[in-house]
């Protein structure tokens, strides 16, 4: 069995679990629990362990998706997963500037620990108060548009949108080895 492992990370409530559910064919293991006080302001339920989703698209080919827990501290499980990841997507809710700093922390952590390529997925761009991609890029520490990871808008609730984001991630990661799209 050939397997590609993608990690879906990002601050609490960015849409990681939803993203994985939208593209997985198996019932995603639900590890959501009542959020503690901090996260309650944002949402009622939060993921306490890693999400896992799977998509088999050939007899011996599968995509595995891992979602990082929303509130947990960076522990050894993160390390194990990101060491094995082919690529990752950082989800950031565009309407929640409060979480931009957390997104930066996660990014710094990931970059330090893993050489895997990353793209940024902006969720909640349909919500009021959403910032535009250029300003979010600045807030995440990417002043130079020519030197930043690809940024895509994605609605984690829509399968088509999530599929497109995964395509972007795959195409970015294997830019050299994928033949031009037909």
């Amino acid at each position: 069995m050939e397997i590609m492992r993608l990690v879906v990370t990002g601050p609490v409530g960015a849409g990681k679990s939803t993203f994985i559910r939208s593209v997985s064919e198996i019932e995603v293991v639900d590890t959501d629990r009542r959020a503690t006080d901090d996260a309650l302001l944002i949402k009622k339920r939060t993921t306490v362990a890693f999400d896992f989703g799977r998509l088999q698209f050939g007899p011996d080919m599968a995509l595995h998706l891992y979602g990082t827990p929303g509130q947990s501290r960076f522990d050894f499980m993160w390390d194990i997963l990101i060491q094995k990841a082919h690529a990752y997507i950082l989800l950031v809710a565009a309407h929640r500037p409060h979480e931009f700093r957390e997104a930066r922390r996660i990014m710094t952590f990931m970059k330090q620990r893993s050489p895997a390529p990353m793209i940024i997925g902006l969720t909640h761009t349909d919500c009021s108060g959403a910032w535009d991609a250029a300003n979010i890029a600045l807030a995440l520490g990417y002043p130079d548009p020519a030197r930043r990871p690809p940024i895509v808008a994605v609605n984690a609730n829509e399968t088509a949108s999530v599929a497109q984001a995964v395509i972007s991630l795959v195409q970015f990661t294997w830019a050299g080895s994928l033949a031009p799209a037909t």
Partner: protein, 291 residues
């Protein structure tokens, strides 16, 4: 595009970092939220040109600088207005008055200090406020001295002088995080001795609380210094791995992860196994069918 939000979500030092890194020109307005002790709301305006602060004030009537000059007793508003009429269209009022010989360079500096440094630095202590950055607002020459300060300099001075950190408490890096430098060479900013000391530890290996201990600083103080290094673009907060509790592995693995995954992972060599060309083609083809 206009940027809006609340300072409790995106703090003033972060906002300054954003406008500076984005070389932004325009008007930043901060509207303090109704304070129970006063009925009126207060607006604060900060004008920026290419990421640098050129003026500040609390009204849009274009008279703020004139009032400051009058307050100093250097000249009455009327005299200033009259002189201002002969200024060239795009010349800052302060500079124009200096060119006419009515204000000295020292006086201009003092004006800028009062108008920008003092007013803006006071805003770092605001517990909250609604902000809006309007990139289309014209620069008001009649509010400008002609002097400028980088947003980073204002942040550094403002945060150094800040006594009450309550408003920013939540934004400070975690004591268990390390710091990692994001600049290639020694910072060109003028850091103070404590900042230099903390800067020496920006290699991603030592937790801020341990840096504090090494330097004999209170942890809160070290966090504040670290925050200054972060919002001035010198360092980033680097979360460190928490030590695993002895039983955590068994707890975490079976509930959430694919069976056998955790064991196979530890058995393998580090890094992701390469995937084949046909795998990639198939995957992309399959996903395209869902779009």
């Amino acid at each position: 595009m206009t940027v809006t939000g609340y300072l409790a979500d995106f703090s003033l030092p972060e906002l300054f970092q954003l406008v500076e890194q984005g070389n932004k020109t325009g008007l930043l307005t901060i509207c303090t939220l109704t304070d129970p002790t006063t009925v009126a709301r207060h607006n604060h305006h900060i004008w920026l040109s290419q990421g640098q602060i050129v003026a500040a004030g609390n009204s849009l009537d274009q008279q703020g600088l004139m009032r400051l000059i009058a307050q100093r007793g250097w000249m009455g508003d009327r005299a200033v207005s009259r002189l201002a009429q002969s200024c060239q269209l795009n010349t800052p009022l302060g500079l124009c008055l200096k060119n006419q010989g009515v204000l000295t360079a020292e006086q201009l500096k003092l004006l800028f200090y009062t108008q920008v440094m003092r007013q803006v630095c006071a805003l770092f202590a605001l517990p909250d406020g609604w902000f809006q950055f309007d990139p289309k607002a014209p620069l008001p020459v009649s509010e400008m001295t002609g002097l400028i300060a980088t947003a980073t300099d204002v942040t550094l001075s403002g945060l150094r002088a800040l006594k009450d950190w309550d408003a920013l408490d939540e934004k400070l890096p975690d004591p268990s995080s390390a710091l990692i430098s994001v600049v290639e060479s020694k910072p060109s900013l003028r850091l103070n001795p404590n900042e230099w000391q903390v800067w020496e530890f920006t290699n991603g290996t030592m937790a801020i609380k341990d840096i504090a201990q090494q330097l004999n600083l209170p942890v809160a103080k070290a966090q504040q210094i670290a925050f200054r290094l972060i919002v001035t673009g010198l360092a980033e907060e680097m979360p460190m791995i928490a030590a695993p509790p002895p039983a955590a592995f068994e707890l975490a693995a079976p509930t959430s992860l694919e069976h056998g995954y955790a064991t196979s992972v530890t058995a393998d060599a580090a890094g992701a196994a390469p995937v084949s060309q046909s795998f990639l083609q198939n995957l992309v083809g399959f996903l395209k069918g869902k779009v």
